[in-house]
Structure formats: C-alpha cells, structure tokens
Amino acid sequence: MIVKEYLKDHILYLDGGMGTLLQSCGTAAGELPERSNITRFETVAAIHQRYFEAGSNVVCTNTFGANCLKFSDAELEEIVARAFAAAKIARERCGGENRWIALDIGPTGRMLKPYGDLDFEDAVSVFSRTVKLGVKYGADLIFIETMSDSYETKAALLAAKENCDLPVFVSNAYGEDGKLMTGASPQAMVALLEGMGADAVGVNCSFGPKKLAAVAEEYVRLASVPVLLKPNAGLPRPSENGTVYDVDCGAFAAEVRALAEKGVRILGGCCGTTPEYIAALVKATEHIRPQPVVPKRETVISSYARAVEFGGAPVLIGERINPTGKKRFKEALRAGDVDYILKEGVAQQEKGVSVLDVNVGLPEIDERAMLETAVCELQAVTDLPLQIDTSDLSAMESALRRYNGKAMINSVNGKEESMAGVFPLVKKYGGVVVALTLDENGIPDRAEGRVKIAEKILRRAADYGIGEKDIVFDPLALTVSADKNAAAETLRAVELLARRGLKTSLGVSNVSFGLPHRDVVNGIFFTLALQAGLSAAIMNPYSEEMMKAFYAYNALIGRDDDCSAYIAFAAKLPERAQTAPPAAAEAEEYKSELQKAVIKGLKERAAALTKALAAEGDPLEIIRGEIIPALDVVGAGFENKTVYLPQLLMSAEAAKAAFEEIKAAMPEAKAAEKCRFVIATVKGDIHDIGKNIVKLLLENYGFAVTDLGKDVPSEKIAETAVALRAPIVGLSALMTTTVPAMEETIKRLRKDAPWCKVVVGGAVLTEEYAKMIGADKYAKDAMETVRYAEEIDASLHLRG
C-alpha cells in the first residue's frame, strides 16, 4: 500500500528524535550527525529499528543537514546512500508492511536573500540535489521539516515537486508567538504549501505538544490536506542526572492524543523524544477513529507574513503600480528606478489597501527581469500580498517562482490559449487567479453571457486540478458613457456570480471613463457593486470617494465594530477650509520657509512649499536658490558636529521630497545636473544602509546616481562604470571579510575603466586601508563623499 492510501483511513505514525539518541550514543560535540550514517551505521540502523518496533509507520532518514553546502558531492551521496541502507535494514528486520522511509530534509543553514546571502534559485538547486539522491536510493516520501523561513520552505517544496512524484510532507517550526521566525502565520503557510501541492502540512520541533497545540489546531481548521504534528519532549534543562526534557512520555502521549482527537492525522516526536515516547503515543491513540480530512472552501492569498481572505470584508487591491497613463512612472521604469515602485507600494499600504497589483510592462524594457526585481524588492519592504499583473507568461512564471507566498495572478480569460498558458502556472506555483469573463468572441453584453464564460473557465480549471476557491471572477466594468446599460449589466453579473458562491473582483474606475468628476461615479458604482456582493476591487486608494464608499459601506452593513475603522479614516480627511501657510515671521532665523522645512527635516511641508513655488517660478532656481543652500547649512553642521546623522538624513529626505515635486513640475528636464556616480556594496556584503545614505545625499546634490545594490560582483561594477563612462565609483564594505572583494573590484576598475576615480567607505575601512587596496579616496562619511564628488565634477567642467 502506498502511504497516501494508508493515510485515508489510518493515523500515520512518524518516528521520534534522532539527534538526541545519536548524541547519547556518543557523538562528539560539533560533529556533523549525518556522518554517523557512515561511521556508526549499525547504531543508526538500530535506532530506526527501535522506532519501527515502537509503532512508527514512517522513519525519517538521518539526512536533516545532508546538503551540498555542508558536504562534498561524493560525501553527500555516500551519506544519503548509507542513510537509506540503514533505514532499509531496519525495515527488513521488522517486516515491511505499512512501513515507509522518508527522505528527511532540514534547512540549509543559510538565510535566503535579501536578509542572507543565499539566492532563492541556489537554494532550490541545493535541495534538488538531495531530493534526487533520495529518489535514487529509494525514498517512499519526502519529509521537509523544521523550516523556520517560509521562503526556504518554498524552495525545498519546489525542489521536491520538480524532481519527483513522491508524496511531500512539509513541517514548519513555529515560535512562541505562533508565527515562523520570518513572520508567517499558520494561515499564510497553509495557503502557500497547499497551493503548491504539499500532501500533508504541519508543525514540528520548537516546544512540547501543549505549546504547539494552538498552531496545530489552526492547521486543522484551515488545511484541506492531512495535518502532522511532531513536537519536542518539551524543552531541555540541566539536572543532576544530566540533561532532561521537561515533558515525560506519559504526558507527551496524552497531550498529543488530545490533538489527534481534534483531527491531527500524522503523529510523531522531535527533539528529546525516543522510541518509548512513540510507543506510548501509539498506545494512547490507536483506538481513535481518524477524523476525515475536510476540504476547505476559503479563497486565500498570502505574503511572507500574512494571509488575505476573500469573501468577508471587501478586499482593496491597490492599482497604482502600473505605468499606464503615468509619465513619471514610465520614466522611473526606463531608468530602472525600483525605489520609486517601492515607495508607491508602501504609500498605498498606508492608504489602507490589502493587496498590491504589480504591473511593470513597458514595450521598451525587459518586463520579465523588471517584474522579478519589483516583486523581490517589494516583498522586502511590505508585508502585503502581491497581485502579479502581466500578460507575458515568462514574466509571470519568474515572478511567481520568486514570490514568497501564494500570489494573486492577474489574469486569465475564457480564451483557450490564455487558459492553456496560465493554468499550469497556477497549478505549479499556487495562486488565486483573476479570471476575466471574456473569450474568443469578446465580452458578452448580457450578464448571463459572462456567467457562461465563468462556467467554462471553471470546467477548464478543474481539468488542471484548480478548484473554484482559487479563482476570482472579474465580470468587467465597462464604460457607462459609451453604453447606458454597461454598469447595470456588470452589477448584475457580480450578483449572479456571488449568488453561486463565487468570488468576484472589478477594475472599478473603468466605468466612469469619459465623464467629468469621475471620482463621484466611481464611488457610487463601487458602493453598488459591494451591495451586489463584490469580493474585491482593483482601485486607486488615493481616490477619496472610493475610500469613503469603502469605509462607510463596511460600517453600514455591520462589518465595522463601533464604526472604529470609519472614524479613524474620517479623522484623516482634510478639512474643507485649507489652512493658510503660517506667517512669514516664523521663518525669521531661516532664509525662507522652504529652507526652514528642509533644515528642520519636514518632508510634507518641504514638498508642499516646493509645489507652490514651482507653479510660479523656475524650478531649477528653487534647487539652486533654496534647497542646496539649506542642505549646505545642515551639511556644514554635520561636519562641525552640531548636527547628527539622523538630522542630516531627515533634511535629506525633505530635500528629496522637494525634488520629487520639481521633477513632477518639469518631467522633460534632466533630473540631474552633475556627473554620473556609480555606487555599490561589494560582493559578499549584504549591508547597505551606509551606501543608501551616501546615495540619498548625492542625489540631493544633483548627481546622477546609479545604484547597483548590495552583494555586487566586481565584474558588474566594472561593466556599469564602462557602459556609463562614469567618472566616479563609490564602494562600500562593512565586514573585514569583504574588503578583499573591494580590492578586487578596484583592480578590475583600474584595468577596464582607468579614467574612473574610486571612493571607498564603510565601518571597517580606514585611510591607510583604503590606500593599501588602491582607492583614490577614503571618505569617512556621506558628506565627505559628496564633497569629493563635487571636486571631481568641478574638475570635469574645467577640462571641458
């Protein structure tokens, strides 16, 4: 019988701790336990045998850390081969019926980017290597366990799915706060893992059964696949008789039984548990009739941290990350200015959206690369789930692959070609897909026609194994000014779909195209659609009318306790009468109001004042006459140590906000007046706060900064310097271990870009060190870098 069949009517028992037992048999401190498969083969086999005898159906091979980051290829293969040989011998000795061997896979030991240095695809390759070996040596299933990072969990599951057809069980290690170390809630993890096709999901390690109970119960409530639980025997503590775990086997068995009665279907133990624990556990639970695993109907997407559910309160999806009709956005995309996108994302989050639509398609850019970058960087600054919005399937796939969670996908439609392209991606990577109710014959005029297309889409999705809970239908808001019935039919389609229990979404603002005061029409249409049962809207969160409709609607239909969300929203609405700018007297000790705002670091005020000034006069004059002098005041203060770093930065941020207004006022003009400055943190170093500070100040002073980011190889820095013929390159390193990478980069620059001046900085550098590695200049802080860059820029002008 295969394990999945057996699981249908039985509780499945896993094994208990391996490391603890090996250690008690004498593994030396610091020795890698996986080597025991070779050095103490018989001990390992005996431990497996004791677990089978105690009642385990599944033993996990001693391969927790068996990966190519820790072992050479040859040794890795030997470790895995011997691990399976040991488990197989144990199984033969006990008789093989209903006994299986799982390839055990733990974390790599390295953190994935951006917080560590392991690339996502490299992590997938590392896991793939181990999975292939497990398959080769006879695994019956794959057991991914003790994962404390959702992203690494995804890499491991993807590797398993791409390299075998075996069942995959996935188990995560939760902290005391009921979340993964990297922040995921149980709901976010269940969504991610089920979306990708895990055969069982659950929880192991960390604590004893009692402390894991809440998370395990949450899993049972949410998961449509069997739930597993493999807790520790509590926590270790020193005692007179050596180290003991604080939950004994009787208590352990009783506590796990309570959870088995609530529906946990796969049971075992982790650190500190022994064959005695498993025997007690089997005895305590074998009489229990296994609870059936009930499929759940909730439509859920997730980020690395949180889940968003459709069907309750309407979900707002921010539409602003999209270049359509936005000059400034297009300019940012062409310049590869990802920061612009990130700010747009965070600003929408602050306005109250729950999901961010991400569309970066422009004919003249590499959409695949840009979408991947945007997704990766956005998930570093926001915990909102993303909606991947593209019609380019290869861009869609690479973004879905790198996305840390279960994404929303925008979109599929009723055309055969679209479904054949998109559905396989939804199936492989998981996701909730927006389905537009149009097909080869266009958009039906009548609501019934759109519902028919929805039915067709559902049938086709089912062929790919995608259920209706993973589809949100968009019955298409058409322009009411072109057809007086357009809005009414769309609303009717929403209602018909909602009545059948299907989820819906609309791009609301299309409805008002061509009309004056579109906001008014959009707000009312949105309200009507909500009343018709709309589950989500792709919308502009800066639209006051839309937000008013949203908050008021929730309050009116009883979704807002004490109207508190509405009241908080209303408090932020601007008063009718604009307050006049404060009297000029206040600015006395400053040359002007704007200079004061910059010096004091008042972002919003600096932006507002600049906007007003730019409407009247020459924007460039504002830079020369107001912003730069103000920055100079702060910069000089910093150099004289009367102004501290946070103050300097607050001013710089205010200046940047002012620049944004100037750019908006004159988008045609060159953004920078001074020379090109290429900046990067060198290979191996993942710290970039210092580099970002320098970048901000350089931009303030008008330099055209190309920021290559962190952990940048020397070749890329040199290539960029050559391609842009940059007169200056700035390099940052924080660690002593990465200074050699800096030296190598300088050498390469000397060879490929001999005209280029190199300025270096960072915590570990000194004047002498900088000289030793061949830099032109050591800058002790951001201001000194600016001063040096100004010198170089001036010398360029002198030479003409």
Binding site: R110, P236, Y644, D685, D688
Partner: protein, 200 residues
C-alpha cells in the same frame, strides 16, 4: 555537549545607548519623537532568543581548548586565564529588525539609522540579561564576553560555534559565506567563569 535554549521577554530599553548608537552625542531632545516612533513600530516585531552550552576550558600558551574547537588566540587565552569552564552562546533578536532596516533604507534613511541603533541596543541588552542570569546561576563572577573577530580570535571560529550550538535549529540563526550572521542583530560569544572548578 548539551545545548539549551532560552526565550526572554523584551529587556528594558536603554535610550541613551540607542542615541549613542545613532551617533547622537549631545542633546538628544530633538530625536525623542523619532526614537519613540521607531520604538513603537518595533514593538512586538522582535524576539529574544539564546542558545548556549557549558564546557570545560584549558589554556596552554596561545592555544585554548574549548571542547568544541581549539583556536589559537593570545587575546582569548588571556581572557580565559584561570577559568576552568566557560559558556558559549548565540543570541538573536530575530529578523523583524532587519526587515524594518531594509524597509526604511528605501523610505526614510533617518529611521533606518534609528532602527539600526535600536537593534544594536536590543541585542546588547539581551546579552547582558543572559550573562547576568549565568552569573547568578553559577554564583560567581564572569569574564567579559569574547566574540570571534575580537583581537586575534579568528572569525572562522563562528563555524565551530554554529556547529556546536546548532544555531539554525535552536534559534533560527544562520551564518552566511562571509561569516556574517542573519538575522544581523545577533551575537555569538564565549564567557569564562573564574573561581570555580568544572562540575560537569
């Protein structure tokens, strides 16, 4: 070597230390608002976890036998002189602070600097709380804690410490190729105990 773990509640803040790490040397009144805002935002996003082990020590010349590794370091030898046993520990305040630093590096470098400072203060306070507990439990004075990279103690000792303490499994702390730790606000160190014999 048995490894133990401990989870702490948030230790009390030392605001002066935060300001010092942020590079504010004199009057900090102007920054109280910014600091409060950042502290509020960090609330609940940090965790305070330590894993540790106790082991016998012997020092001969420059070489120090730590039971799980035997580095050569005159500075560590001097630090552990007269100690019969010591603890090795790894402590972290988790990835939450790294997320905030990364977020504000893009949105507001002033806040990023503040979070950087908060993280530095938090991990120091955690180490102090932990070492204070050790001193109380052992009932004797402890030497200043000593980390890989201090003086002539090789940074490469990080690898041995990670292996011995199984940091990734115990407190979800990882070591990358250039021997940096992720989460970044983390410390590994050795603390020697003077005045008592090893009773292991």
């Amino acid at each position: 070597m048995d490894v133990f773990t401990k989870t702490y509640p948030a230790p009390p803040y030392d605001k002066e230390e935060i300001f010092r790490y942020a590079g504010i040397k004199g009057d900090a009144r102007e920054f109280t608002g910014l600091a409060e805002e950042c502290l509020g935002e960090a609330e609940g996003k940090l965790s305070f976890r330590v894993c540790y082990a106790r082991f016998p020590v012997s020092v001969r010349g420059d070489s120090v036998d730590l039971a799980f590794a035997a580095p050569r370091s005159s500075a560590l030898a001097k630090n552990l002189a007269g100690c019969a046993f010591a603890y090795v520990f790894a402590a972290t305040v988790g990835i939450g602070i790294d997320r905030m630093i990364a977020k504000y590096a893009v949105l507001s470098p002033a806040k990023a600097v503040m979070f950087q400072a908060i993280g530095a203060e938090r991990i120091e306070s955690l180490c102090n709380a932990f070492c204070g507990d050790l001193a109380r439990e052992e009932g004797c004075a402890l030497k200043p804690r000593f980390s890989p990279g201090y003086g002539d103690l090789p940074l490469a000792l990080q690898k041995d410490i990670f292996r011995a303490l199984r940091c990734e499994k115990n407190i979800a702390l990882t070591l990358n190729e250039s021997l940096l730790m992720s989460p970044s606000k983390s410390v590994t160190a050795i603390v020697g105990f003077a005045g008592k014999t090893a009773a292991l």
